[in-house]
Symmetry: C2
Subunit: 362 residues, 2 copies
């Protein structure tokens, strides 16, 4: 498997990503919801374009650096899902607005004033969504009255226009089972709908209700009434999706291929991959540092920077030079470690895919 | 502090790294030990050259990809501290040998045969060191008789020459206190010396006894008799060194600068840095994800990809837009996230330093 790749390598199954993209867009559309995928997962122009071709409505970026790369490639409709704070960031946003249709979020009066000053100086209103706290306490306003009071505080700022609400229900990743996850997805919908009602009654025009993690985005039937989901790592899936029943092994498009470089004993070996590719991210639903395809008896018990410590319950039955494919715990951080991934179809290398915005966290 | 850097930024205090480099080389020299620094920590040509200028004897690389970048920059004396397995790797090593003096390690007969075949085809002997297990079970031979038996198995291979032993005593990073660490350092010396004696009595010429983690490398008085240390992250230091008493805050040359982008309540705020810079690496000696300079009351309790969750025991006393500097848990993985770091001296930006071999884990 993947014997033609020099290791460590990050491989992407192209049929799987195309299927993942189409399935999400089509299922969301049944409930009147558009998909604005979060490209922080892949940071690749080619994959963002593929998402747009297959039905996505614009893209979501975490950071200005990502948005700049996407705009340079001609992608126009960009939501920057991050508080843009400080002179440097505002200057860059100003330049970015010359070549793309950018909206962003606000969760503080200071942040809103900065954006308004920029909009004012440009003679335009910057489109903003109010950031609602989905329970993570990551800076968003509490849904309901606190969000309304915040909206009132910033509504007269001349250089911004409030166009919607945005919500990140990240707690869903930590729920133990599907029933508990469904509860979080319902809360996501309710928080967005109730807050929008409150603001509309107060005279605000709230067009966009944006939600959708990579879990709740797969349950659009529970989100009906919101307008947009931003699911990101659904394009690849990973151990988090696999071991919660939201993806099959075939749906897990991103695989890290590694070589057995040392044998320790009948149950232990060393692979040539470590934290500099897989990272130290854990998965609450699976032990160790990734899942070995075809070898459920194996666990990667720990990582050094360039070593994976492999332990097998059954006899190891591998030899030095053998290659193994790993579904990583967290796809989004793996992709960010490399300059390109290998696009694979039907067991063959089809093309290299550049990770154009790798490292663009500024 | 670092107000002139757009965040998140990785800053390096130049006075501190120069001092760190000189101190290690000079202290090792007192005991007749040379320093061959592991450049996986920084992956930077400029910093490798600085280490060589300030007394290092050659460099150590983890991966061929790093070694290729260093050789391209004219660095000749390179030890690749990793088993090179497979046709692709051997072909690349063959090319690398045309422009650099490369040695590597062996810990399997398969690996030794591959290297020997390459050496044979090139009409030369590739210099190898036998990899001894320092307790991590990472593929090395057990010191003493097992290492001798392995040496006998490979001694007639025509394309390699055994020139020494190499040892990685990584267990030292997990020891609770200095006394326990000293015990590991003494074992490192004893294992190397005893195994060398055994091999020499059997007719092997063992010139190189290579050891030295970034902890044991700071206790060269316990290593007298070995010939070389490979300490790597001593150049920057990090929370691991700081909270075990092996470095002061000033000695911690690498700092991640971040901006407060959201306030949650009187004791919680969000910084614009996450796992895509700091990574999820933990420190056994300090809670959370790094140490905030000047604010020992603060803990980074968790990270998302682009968010740090800051909690303070005292009232927060920061405002949106403020910048904080973080000593990371693990310097080696942070440096690998960025294309350059900012070289700082006396509170001023002096120059950008390229991380030329960032991502070169293949």
């Amino acid at each position: 498997m993947y014997d033609y790749l020099e290791t460590p390598a990050v491989a992407v199954e192209l049929d799987a990503i195309e299927n993942n993209i189409q399935t999400l867009v089509e299922n969301a559309a049944k409930y009147g919801i558009v998909h604005r995928p979060h490209i922080k997962t892949h940071r690749s122009v080619e994959l963002a374009r593929l998402q747009l071709q297959l039905g996505a409505k614009g893209i979501t970026c975490a950071k200005l650096g990502e948005a700049e790369i996407m705009a340079d490639a001609g992608i126009r409709d960009i939501f920057i899902c991050y508080p843009l704070i400080g002179k440097d960031k505002l200057e860059r946003l100003g330049k970015l607005l010359e070549r793309a249709d950018v909206s962003t979020l606000v969760n503080s009066v200071e942040g809103a004033k900065g954006l308004s000053d920029l909009g004012d100086s440009l003679g335009q209103r910057i489109l903003v969504r109010i950031d609602l706290d989905g329970g993570l306490k990551r800076g968003g306003l509490q849904p309901g009255r606190p969000a309304l009071e915040f909206a009132r505080k910033i509504k007269d700022l001349p250089g911004i226009r409030i166009v919607g609400l945005m919500y990140y229900g990240g707690l869903i990743y930590h729920e133990p089972d599907r029933t508990a996850m469904e509860k979080i997805a319902r809360k996501e919908r309710e928080d967005l709908m109730a807050t929008a009602d409150l603001l509309r009654k107060d005279g605000f025009e709230i067009d966009v209700l944006s939600g959708g993690t990579s879990f709740s985005g797969k349950m659009p039937e529970l989100l009906e009434g919101i307008t947009e989901i931003r699911s990101g790592h659904y394009i690849f899936n990973d151990c988090g999706q696999l071991f919660s029943g939201f993806a099959s092994e075939e749906d897990c498009a991103l695989r890290v291929v590694a070589t057995v470089v040392s044998l320790v004993d009948n149950h232990h070996a060393i692979l040539d991959v470590g934290t500099k590719i897989l990272t130290s991210d854990l998965c609450e639903r699976h032990p160790g540092y990734g899942s070995i395809i075809g070898r459920p008896d194996m666990v990667i018990t720990s990582l050094n920077e360039e070593h994976a410590f492999l332990e097998s319950a059954s006899p190891l039955n591998v030899k030095i030079g053998d290659k193994l494919a790993i579904i990583p715990n967290h796809a989004c951080v793996v992709c960010n470690q490399v300059d390109w991934v290998w696009g694979i179809r039907n067991g063959r290398l089809e093309r290299k895919i550049r990770i154009d915005a790798r490292g663009r966290s500024v």
